[in-house]
C-alpha cells in the first residue's frame, strides 16, 4: 500500500464531529444505556455474562468522533449510564464503580491508541480500519476485560477471572466492532458515499442477511449458514464499508437476539454454552472484520483509482498551465530578442553589420541557420549568415533574382515565403534541395527586408530542423525582425551610398588627372588599370579593338594575383560587351566580372573589364559605366593623336627616306630622333642631294608646329628646297623659299641650315635661316661654329636681305648640321648647350658615325620635347686609304669595314671589293699575328691607293716575318692573298715586313 507515501489530500482527513456537549451527553448516555440494557436483557440474566456488549461500540465511536475536549463529556455520559444500569441491575456500588472504570478505560485506551496511531480514524481507509481492529476491537477490550474481570472477582464476588475476562473481551470486541464500526463507517468521509441506489441495495441485502441468519438460528436451516457470509462479501463490493458495518451489526444483533431467545445451534456442540457463544461471537467478529477489511480495501482501490484519475486530470491541468507559462515566457523572450535586436541594429554602421546582428542569437527560438541577402543589381548577395556551411555560401553567395529559391521569391513578391517541410521545399524549390541537404532543415521562412517606402532591399531567411516551425508567434517575430532589419539596412545603405558616391567621385577625379598625364593609348590604358587596381583592388584589363574586328589586350593589372582568366575568356567577354549597350556582368570563380564597352563619338574603341571578389570592393554597374565613359574619352583622344602621329611619322619617314644612299665621295651619318615627350611629331627633316654643278647639298630644317600639318608642310618645303637650290646661291634659295612659304602658311617661320659642298675641293657655301649654327669638327683641331650667313626664319618680315657665307671643309673635317632639339633645353641655356656640343664633338672627330653617336649619347640624355635631327658629312679621299693600328685582332674587323666603305666611295664593284678586303685582311692578320703575336703594341700600317692601273695595297709591320709553309695554318692566309691578287710581293728585312699587292680594276665608277 503506497498511498501512505503518496499522501492523502488533507482535505479528506476526517474532522471531529461538531456537536454540543449536551447533545453529545444525551446521545452517548442514551446509546450506552440502550446498548448496555440490551446486553443485560439479551445475554446476561445474571448480569455478569455480556457476550455481546453494543455499548462498548458507542463509547469508542463517540470518543473517536468528537474533539479531545469533549472526551470527558463522552466518558461522563458513558460512565453515568454504566453506573446507573449497573445499579439498576443490583450490582453493588463498588462493583458498579469498578465496571465503570473498566468500561471507561477500555474505550479511552482504544481511542487514545487509535488517535496516536492514525489520527482520527476513518474506516473507509484500510490502514485506519486495521488500526481500529487491532487497537479498538482487539487490544482495548482485552484491557477492559482484565479490569472487568478483576472487578468481577474482587468487588462482585465472582469467580473465574479468565473466563470473565475472555467473555468481556469477546463481547466488548464484538460490540466495538459491529456498533462502533457501524457508527464510524457511517461517519466516514472517504468511504463510498451512500447514495440512494446503494442505500436501497444495502438495505435489501441486510434484510436478506437478517432473514438468512434468522432462518439458520430460528428454523435451523443450517444450509443457509453461508448466505449471510456471501451477502457480506457482496455488500462489501456493492455497497462498501457502511453497508458491511450495518449488515454486520444487524447480523450480530439477530444472532444475539436469537441466542438470547434460546435458538441456538451450538447445542449439539460439545462445549459449554458460554464457550460456544464466544466462538460464535468470535466467528461473527472475524467475518465482519474481514468483510469490513474487504470493503475498505475495495473502497481504497476505488479511491485510488479515483485519485489516479484525479491526479491525471490535475497533471493535465498543470501541463496546460505550464504551457501557458512557457508561452508567456516565450513571448517575453521574443519581445526581449526584438528589443535587443533593435538596440544592436542601432549601433550597426554597415549593411554587413546590420545583417550580422540580424542573424545572431536566433538559436533560442529554434533557428538552425539564418542569413541575410541583399538585392544588388538583380542579384541576391549574402551579407551575413549564421550556421551556414562555407560550401553553401560559395555556391549561393550570389545568384540572380530569377532563380527559384525561397529568398528570391520573397524578394520578387515582396512577401513572406514559408516552406513548412523538407518535402515541400523539394517540391516547390528543387534548386534549393542541395542547399537544404547541407543545412539539414525542415522549415524555412524567407522574409523580405523592406525600406520605409516598401522597396525590397534584401531577404532574411531562417531555417529550423523542426517541421511546421513557423507558428503564429514566430511569424510575428520573423516579421518583426525583418521590419527592423529592413529599416536598418536602408539606413546603412544610405550611409554606404553616400560614402561610395564620395569615393567614386574621388576615383573618377583621380582617373581624370592620371589619364591626362599619360599620352598614348597604351599609356592611358596602363594608367587606367594601375589606378583601378590601386583604388578598387580590382583585376583590370583594357582591350582595344583591332583592325580585323578582333580585340587585343592593351593593359592589365592583377593586384590579387587571381589570374583566373585566360586571354580567350577575357576576349569573349570583351566581344560580348562590345555588342551590348549595358555593362556585362559574369561570375567566374567567385569573382564578379564587369565588362563595359569603351565608346566615344559613337565608336567602340575597346572594353574595360574589372573583376573583384564577389561582395568585396564597391564596384557597381553604375561606377563601372562611369569609369568606362571617362576612360573612353581619354582613349579616344589618345587614339586620335596617335593616328595623326602615325600618319605624320609615316610621312616624315617617307620624306626622310632613311640613310642617304649612293652618295659616293662623302661620308654621311644621319640621326632622326622623334620627340618622346608628346604624341606629336615635329616638322624636322634632313636632306642630301646632288646639284647639277657636281656639288652636293646638305639641308637640315625645322617647320614650326607639330603633327600632320607640320609634316605636310615639311614635305612641301623639302621639295621646294630641292627644286629651288639649283637656281642660284644659297642666299637666292632662301629668298625664293621666302616667296614659297607665302603660299604655304604652315611652312612659314620654318628654320633651315643649308650647305653646298664641292667634294673634290672642300669648298663650302652655307646659309642659316633662323637656324642653329652648323659645326665644323676636325680630328686635329678645335671644332668651330659657323656663325656666318645668318638670316631670319623663312617668311619672316623682319629679316633683311638673305645672305650666305663661304668656308672650306678640310679632308679631315666633318660638317655637322642639326636642329634646335639637340641644343634647346628648358633647364639649360643655349650657350651652355653649344659648349657641351663642341666638347662632345672634340671627343669624336674621327668619323661621322662616331660623331653623331657621341652627340646623341652626350646631349640626348633627357626626355625629348622636340625632335632631334643631325646630319654629319665628311669628304672622302678617293685616291688614298691609310690606317695604322695596333696588333689587335679586333682591329682587323674595323679595318675591313673601313676599307670596304672606302672602296665603295672609290667606285670599286662588289666582287673585286670583296677580294681586296679579304686579301688585305689576311695580310693584316699575318702581320699582327706573325710579326707581333697579337701583342697589342706593334703597329700594323695599311695603305691602299687607287690609281689608273688599279688598286695597290701595302701592309707593313716592324716585326720579324717568317715565310710560312704553304700548307700550314699560317700559310693559308698567304695562299688566299696570292689567289686573289694579281701581284703579291713580300719583302722582309731587319726592320720588318711589307706585303705589297696589286689588283687590276675596271676604271673607278665616279659618281
Amino acid at each position: 500500500m503506497s498511498l501512505a507515501t503518496t499522501g492523502y489530500d488533507t482535505s479528506t482527513v476526517a474532522r471531529p464531529v461538531r456537536v454540543s456537549s449536551v447533545v453529545l451527553f444525551v446521545l452517548v448516555a442514551g446509546g450506552y444505556a440502550l446498548g448496555s440494557q440490551l446486553a443485560f436483557s439479551w445475554f446476561g440474566a445474571d448480569g455478569t455474562s455480556s457476550s455481546f456488549f453494543p455499548a462498548a461500540g458507542v463509547t469508542l465511536a463517540a470518543l473517536v468522533l468528537v474533539r479531545l475536549a469533549q472526551w470527558p463529556v463522552v466518558l461522563l455520559a458513558a460512565g453515568s449510564a454504566e453506573f446507573l444500569v449497573d445499579l439498576s441491575h443490583d450490582l453493588g456500588a463498588a462493583a458498579s464503580a469498578g465496571y465503570v472504570v473498566a468500561n471507561l478505560t477500555q474505550p479511552l485506551v482504544g481511542a487514545a491508541l487509535l488517535l496516536a496511531a492514525v489520527g482520527r480514524a476513518d474506516l473507509g481507509r484500510t490502514r485506519d480500519l486495521m488500526a481500529f481492529l487491532a487497537l479498538a476491537v482487539v487490544l482495548a477490550p482485552a484491557v477492559g476485560g482484565a479490569l472487568g474481570a478483576t472487578t468481577f472477582v474482587l468487588l462482585d464476588d465472582g469467580e473465574g477471572w479468565g473466563e470473565f475476562a475472555a467473555e468481556w473481551w469477546v463481547g466488548d470486541g464484538l460490540g466495538v466492532l459491529v456498533v462502533g464500526g457501524a457508527i464510524l463507517s457511517l461517519s466516514s468521509t472517504v468511504a463510498r458515499p451512500l447514495t440512494r441506489a446503494p442505500l436501497v441495495e444495502g438495505l435489501v441485502l441486510t434484510v436478506a442477511a437478517v432473514l438468512a441468519a434468522s432462518a439458520v438460528l430460528r428454523l435451523e436451516w443450517f444450509a443457509l449458514v453461508y448466505v449471510p457470509l456471501a451477502l457480506l462479501v457482496v455488500t462489501a463490493f456493492r455497497v462498501g464499508t457502511r453497508g458491511v458495518a450495518l449488515m454486520g451489526a444487524a447480523i450480530a444483533f439477530v444472532i444475539a437476539q436469537a441466542t438470547a431467545e434460546g435458538h441456538t445451534f451450538w447445542n449439539s456442540l460439545d462445549v459449554a454454552p458460554t464457550t460456544a457463544l464466544v466462538y460464535l461471537q468470535l466467528g461473527i467478529g472475524i467475518v465482519v472484520a474481514s468483510a469490513l477489511a474487504l470493503a475498505a480495501e475495495i473502497t481504497e482501490r476505488e479511491r485510488m483509482a479515483g485519485e489516479l484519475a484525479r491526479t491525471e486530470t490535475e497533471r493535465a491541468v498543470a501541463l496546460d498551465r505550464a504551457r501557458a507559462l512557457e508561452g508567456e515566457r516565450n513571448a517575453r523572450q521574443r519581445a526581449e530578442l526584438l528589443e535587443r535586436h533593435a538596440a544592436q541594429l542601432a549601433a550597426a554602421a554597415s549593411r554587413e553589420a546590420v545583417a550580422s546582428v540580424t542573424v545572431g542569437g536566433l538559436e533560442t527560438i529554434g533557428v538552425s541557420s539564418a542569413w541575410v541577402q541583399a538585392v544588388e543589381d538583380g542579384e541576391l548577395v549574402v551579407l551575413a549568415s549564421s550556421g551556414v556551411p562555407a560550401e553553401n555560401l560559395n555556391r549561393y553567395g550570389r545568384y540572380p533574382l530569377g532563380v527559384e529559391t525561397p529568398p528570391a521569391e520573397a524578394a520578387r513578391r515582396a512577401a513572406l515565403v514559408e516552406v513548412r517541410t523538407g518535402a515541400e521545399l523539394d517540391r516547390r524549390f528543387p534548386r534549393a534541395s542541395a542547399g537544404r541537404e547541407r543545412l539539414r532543415y525542415e522549415s524555412l521562412v524567407s522574409a523580405p527586408l523592406r525600406a520605409a517606402d516598401g522597396r525590397v532591399l534584401g531577404v532574411l531567411s531562417l531555417t529550423a530542423a523542426q517541421k511546421y516551425w513557423l507558428d503564429g508567434t514566430r511569424r510575428q517575430l520573423v516579421i518583426g525582425l525583418a521590419e527592423q532589419c529592413g529599416l536598418a539596412l536602408e539606413r546603412a545603405q544610405l550611409q554606404v551610398e553616400a560614402d561610395r558616391a564620395a569615393a567614386d567621385a574621388a576615383l573618377l577625379a583621380r582617373l581624370g588627372e592620371e589619364l591626362e598625364r599619360a599620352t598614348t593609348t597604351a599609356e592611358r590604358a596602363d594608367v587606367l588599370c594601375e589606378a583601378l587596381a590601386d583604388d578598387l583592388g580590382a583585376f583590370s584589363v583594357v582591350h582595344v579593338v583591332d583592325d580585323p574586328g578582333g580585340v587585343r589586350i592593351a593593359a592589365r593589372r592583377d593586384p590579387g594575383q587571381r589570374a583566373a582568366f585566360d586571354d580567350a575568356t577575357l576576349a569573349t567577354q570583351a566581344q560580348r560587351a562590345l555588342v551590348s549597350s549595358n555593362v556585362v556582368i559574369e561570375s567566374v570563380h567567385g569573382l564578379r566580372v564587369f565588362t563595359a564597352a569603351l565608346r566615344a563619338r559613337g565608336r567602340a574603341l575597346g572594353t574595360l573589364t574589372l573583376a573583384n571578389d564577389a561582395g568585396a570592393g564597391r564596384m557597381t554597374t553604375v561606377l563601372v559605366q562611369r569609369i568606362a565613359t571617362r576612360a573612353a574619352l581619354a582613349l579616344d583622344n589618345a587614339l586620335l593623336y596617335e593616328q595623326e602621329r602615325d600618319v605624320s611619322h609615316s610621312l616624315q619617314l617617307g620624306l626622310l627616306g632613311g640613310r642617304p644612299e649612293g652618295m659616293r665621295g662623302t661620308e654621311i651619318a644621319t640621326v632622326y630622333l622623334p620627340a618622346t615627350a608628346g604624341l606629336e611629331v615635329g616638322g624636322d627633316w634632313y636632306d642630301v642631294f646632288d646639284l647639277p654643278s657636281g656639288h652636293r647639298a646638305f639641308v637640315v630644317g625645322d617647320v614650326v608646329g607639330h603633327g600632320l600639318e607640320a609634316a605636310v608642310a615639311m614635305g612641301q618645303l623639302r621639295g621646294a628646297v630641292r627644286a629651288l637650290a639649283p637656281v642660284g646661291t644659297p642666299a637666292d634659295l632662301l629668298a625664293n623659299l621666302d616667296l614659297f612659304v607665302e603660299s604655304v602658311p604652315e611652312a612659314a617661320m620654318a628654320t633651315l641650315a643649308y650647305a653646298e659642298l664641292d667634294p673634290a675641293t672642300g669648298r663650302l657655301r652655307y646659309a642659316c635661316a633662323g637656324h642653329p649654327p652648323p659645326v665644323l669638327v676636325s680630328s686635329s683641331a678645335e671644332p668651330r661654329l659657323l656663325w656666318e650667313g645668318r638670316t631670319a626664319p623663312l617668311g619672316s618680315t623682319i629679316g633683311g636681305t638673305r645672305e650666305h657665307a663661304q668656308d672650306a671643309l678640310g679632308s679631315d673635317e666633318i660638317l655637322l648640321l642639326y636642329t634646335d632639339g639637340l641644343v634647346e633645353r628648358r633647364d639649360v641655356g643655349l650657350d651652355e648647350m653649344l659648349e657641351t656640343l663642341l666638347a662632345a664633338a672634340t671627343r669624336a672627330g674621327s668619323s661621322c658615325d662616331a660623331l653623331v653617336e657621341e652627340l646623341q649619347a652626350s646631349l640626348v640624355t633627357h626626355v625629348l620635347e622636340d625632335d632631334v635631327c643631325m646630319l654629319a658629312t665628311r669628304r672622302v679621299d678617293v685616291t688614298r686609304f691609310s690606317r695604322a693600328f695596333p696588333a689587335d685582332a679586333d682591329e682587323i674587323g674595323r679595318l675591313r669595314h673601313a676599307l670596304d666603305e672606302w672602296l665603295w666611295h672609290v667606285g670599286i664593284a662588289t666582287p673585286k671589293r670583296r677580294e681586296l678586303v679579304l686579301a688585305v685582311s689576311e695580310a693584316a692578320v699575318n702581320a699582327a699575328e706573325h710579326a707581333y703575336g697579337f701583342d697589342h703594341v706593334g703597329t700594323v700600317r695599311v695603305s691602299v691607293e687607287s690609281g689608273p692601273d688599279g688598286i695597290r695595297a701595302s701592309v707593313a709591320d716592324d716585326g720579324t716575318w717568317r715565310e710560312p709553309a704553304a700548307e700550314s695554318d699560317r700559310g693559308r692566309g698567304t695562299t688566299i692573298i696570292r689567289a686573289l691578287m694579281d701581284d703579291v710581293s713580300i719583302e722582309t728585312d731587319g726592320n720588318g715586313t711589307v706585303v705589297r699587292m696589286r689588283a687590276t680594276t675596271a676604271p673607278p665608277v665616279r659618281r
Binding site: D890, I892, G893, V917, E922, V925, D969, G973, I976
Partner: protein
C-alpha cells in the same frame, strides 16, 4: 655592325647537331665557332654558313681542324655554303674541296642518310 658580332644557333635535326652561324667569321670569332663545334655531342655535325657575312683564313683553319678532329672520332661533318654565299666563295679561294662543303642543309642530310658512304 661590330666586327666581332657572331651568333651561333644550335639545334638537333634528325639526330645531327646543326650549327647555324650568322655574322662575321674571322680571327676574333673563330674561337667561338671552334668552341661551339667542340660542344656538340651528336654523331653528325652540320655547320650551316649560308648567312655568314665574312669568312677568313682563321675561320677556315678552325673548320679544317674541327673536321679532322670529328673525322678522327668517327663522326660525320658537313659545312653548308650555298654557291653564291660569301663562305662558298672564300672556300673556293682557299681551295677547300666539296667533300665537306655542300650547297644546302638538305644535301648534308642526304649524305648523312647514306650510311654506306661516310664522309671523309
Amino acid at each position: 655592325m661590330t666586327p666581332d658580332s657572331l651568333t651561333i644557333a644550335h639545334e638537333i635535326r634528325e639526330g645531327a647537331a646543326v650549327l647555324r652561324v650568322r655574322g662575321e667569321l674571322d680571327l676574333t670569332t673563330a674561337e667561338q665557332l671552334d668552341a661551339a663545334i667542340d660542344a656538340t655531342e651528336a654523331a653528325s655535325v652540320v655547320l650551316d654558313l649560308s648567312t655568314v657575312l665574312f669568312v677568313d683564313s682563321a675561320a677556315i683553319r678552325v673548320i679544317d681542324v674541327a673536321h679532322r678532329r670529328l673525322r678522327g672520332g668517327g663522326r660525320a661533318f658537313y659545312v653548308v655554303a650555298p654557291p653564291q654565299s660569301r663562305a662558298a666563295w672564300t672556300f673556293r679561294v682557299a681551295g677547300f674541296g666539296d667533300q665537306v662543303v655542300v650547297p644546302s642543309a638538305d644535301d648534308a642530310f642526304r649524305r648523312l642518310a647514306d650510311a654506306g658512304d661516310p664522309p671523309v
